[in-house]
Symmetry: C2
């Protein structure tokens, strides 16, 4: 039966995403998921083999593209501020999307604290390229041939400002609920983060030249 693409399968994926994100892999029970999906217990075995298969599908399926590497390449041709605005827009984009994508992101950050094995793939496919891009860009901006510890610190600091809006989303909604209230607010946030990054980079450039003089 493929004419309907099996509605139950999709309902299972939706319910599983919601519950895995809310309670974690261990915390979400198969009975709970099936009940939320209006499906029978055996449906998990039928469509996904077992709970782990359902989790894997939930984790991987809703993600269309793994942060198109071309996007990062495109940013290379921009000057610093527009490149950073584009970077942060790209990074924060899922926050504007449907609830489902936010839940997938939450699943991904869950992997940071409780790795199920998919975390390593995530690092290789998404995080390291982004980090490397940022490091390379900072080296170019600061006129360095190779990254040193200060560049690494700066890269981590710049990216961490954006990461925080995923990891600490609930906290931010509590402390400053306006910051992610609308797509416009998220665009503005990307602009501000880019501004912060520009300031940090400029400050680092000054620190380096000043230090060069001092020594």
């Amino acid at each position: 039966m493929e004419h309907d693409a099996s509605a139950a399968r999709q309902r299972l994926l939706d319910a599983a995403l919601r519950l895995f994100a809310a309670r974690g892999y261990e915390g979400a029970t198969t009975r709970e998921i099936c009940e939320a999906a209006g499906a029978n217990l055996s449906a998990i075995r039928y469509y996904f083999g077992d709970k782990a298969g359902l989790y894997r599908a939930t984790f991987c399926e809703p993600l269309g593209e793994p942060t198109d590497p071309a996007r990062l390449a495109d940013m290379a041709s921009l000057t610093l501020r527009p490149a950073l605005v584009a970077f942060f827009r790209e990074f924060l984009l899922p926050l504007k999307h449907s609830e489902a994508v936010q839940l997938v992101m939450k699943l991904h950050f869950r992997e940071m604290i409780e790795p199920t094995g998919l975390w390593q793939d995530e690092i290789d496919a998404e995080i390291r390229p982004q980090h490397d891009w940022m490091v390379a860009r900072l080296c170019a901006e600061l006129g360095l041939d190779a990254p040193d510890a200060d560049v690494q610190r700066l890269a981590v600091a710049v990216i961490s400002m954006a990461v925080h809006y995923y990891v600490g989303r609930e906290l931010i909604d509590l402390l400053a609920p306006d910051l992610l209230a609308s797509p416009n607010a998220i665009d503005l946030l990307a602009e501000r983060l880019a501004g912060y990054a520009v300031s940090m980079i400029e400050g680092e450039r000054l620190r380096r030249t000043g230090e060069g003089d001092a020594h």
Copy 2:
């Protein structure tokens, strides 16, 4: 029997801290904890009532002082950069301490993603005071009577740089292992983060005056 303060109780706390941090509250089993502690299953009931009681003790006990509020008050008398250096030093201090404190911090950040109820207390006792202090300091620095969204964004950005070294510690050890390698490295990190923050604040001041001119 209080002369020994019961070695088994302490061994349980140590093992529980390690396992709760590694596998989460649900993931760590009482049998596993007792085996690691060299204690009998019933020891949990005997000393802590049940698993939740053990978790609560593990969560709260190793923390001596809840970020002494006096420390925050002290920073008020400092100029911007020294105040920020002091803030980040205070914030990153646990990273220099023993492994146990790091594990407690990991437990605390676990609460962010998987709240067990202690998370709300954590917000009230630790996080909100720090956030409010930072917002107030930024308002003073920017000459504002009341915080607006831009100040909130800036405060979140400044604090997030430091938070990231807890939440994403494993990732940082992978991408840039030097940054947390020694107590000296952590002191240097606090200085650099303070420098970043100063740059961001200065940039924000310029943006605000420029924006005021433009309108």
